[in-house]
Symmetry: C2
Subunit: 195 residues, 2 copies
């Protein structure tokens, strides 16, 4: 492999973003996460928070939900922009791309992709979003389930695949039992060994 | 961890058994697979082939299917024997146990378990069962889907968990993209690093 790209899909609260950054640091390659949101926001004119939500979560009303300006046309425009930005980043050279269906968007890169899914048990994720992300300790499991549902719906609509189904990935790692550092280390090793 | 046990759940045709044996060889620990069937057969008096089928696959008729001697009582007897044998093997020291819901049976070992799920895309598995297992090249995907369905039904009835759902495992590895040797190597490294 010459230009190898790592994609990190992750459950909310699993620490997947941290795993991605640590692996990128160890490998000395860039990690793209918030940068993708910023680029979409710049090019589309929408606020970053809006883009962040629309580029990974389905609204309660679904793809065709009647939400005024948040209709299907806007969603398709953001998706199209997102796909182009992800491909442009991948074309720049080795990197890690977090979320945003990059595993699917880059499917034509095939042999040069290492597709990872980062997840954890509900208890570890609830603990993480309260202790690390500063979320309310009031029923965090309920919010996680809601996030899971909307993220899965988004992924399924745009990719026609099931979010979190192992067959979409090369390796799936449980941060709840293995730990964040160990997961970053495994990805780093697999990446290096496949050179 | 002192007595660390690796459990390998695997999709039929993914090469999970080979991954298990290679990892066991590299780690210098025993790998239990067919031995479990043999022990159940010896203790229960049933034929090995029958035990092999009944200890991992649900009949088409389901748990309460009316199949004469193959009824629920026999199934429970085999399951009970299987649980005891798996626990006894785990108590003997570090080892790898292939299939048979060992990840669930040994759940009380918790901290000392490394639970792996080995899978692959349908095309790789179809190629494998025809070229390596000598199965008929006639519609291998159909047989794989049937095996998947019956193995998942068995796992779900006995464990109340979804077969292949990443959250039941510490790591899930795709032999179709990573290759058999790389998967054995990853398991070996994770096992060693968690010592």
């Amino acid at each position: 492999m010459s230009d190898k790209i790592i994609t990190i899909s992750r459950q909310f609260g699993s620490g997947g973003r941290t795993v991605a950054r640590k692996a990128a640091d160890m490998l000395g390659i860039p990690c793209y996460d918030r940068e993708i949101i910023q680029q979409i926001a710049e090019k589309s004119g929408f606020a970053e928070d809006y883009v962040s939500e629309q580029s990974e979560y389905m609204d309660d009303g679904g793809f065709f939900g009647s939400l005024g300006m948040y209709g299907p046309t806007t969603r398709i425009a953001i998706w199209t922009e997102q796909c182009q930005i992800i491909k442009d980043l991948a074309d720049k050279g080795p990197c890690i791309i977090v979320g945003r269906c990059a595993d699917y968007v880059l499917k034509e890169y095939h042999e040069d992709l290492l597709k990872c899914f980062i997840y954890a048990d509900m208890e570890s994720r609830a603990h993480r979003i309260v202790s690390q992300y500063g979320e309310s300790p009031e029923k965090p499991e309920k919010r996680l389930k809601d996030k899971d549902k909307r993220r899965a719906a988004y992924y399924e609509i745009y990719t026609d695949q099931d979010f979190g189904d192992p067959v979409n990935y090369d390796l799936c790692l449980n941060t709840g039992t293995l730990g964040i550092d160990a997961c970053a280390e495994i990805i780093t090793q697999v990446y290096k060994n496949q050179d």
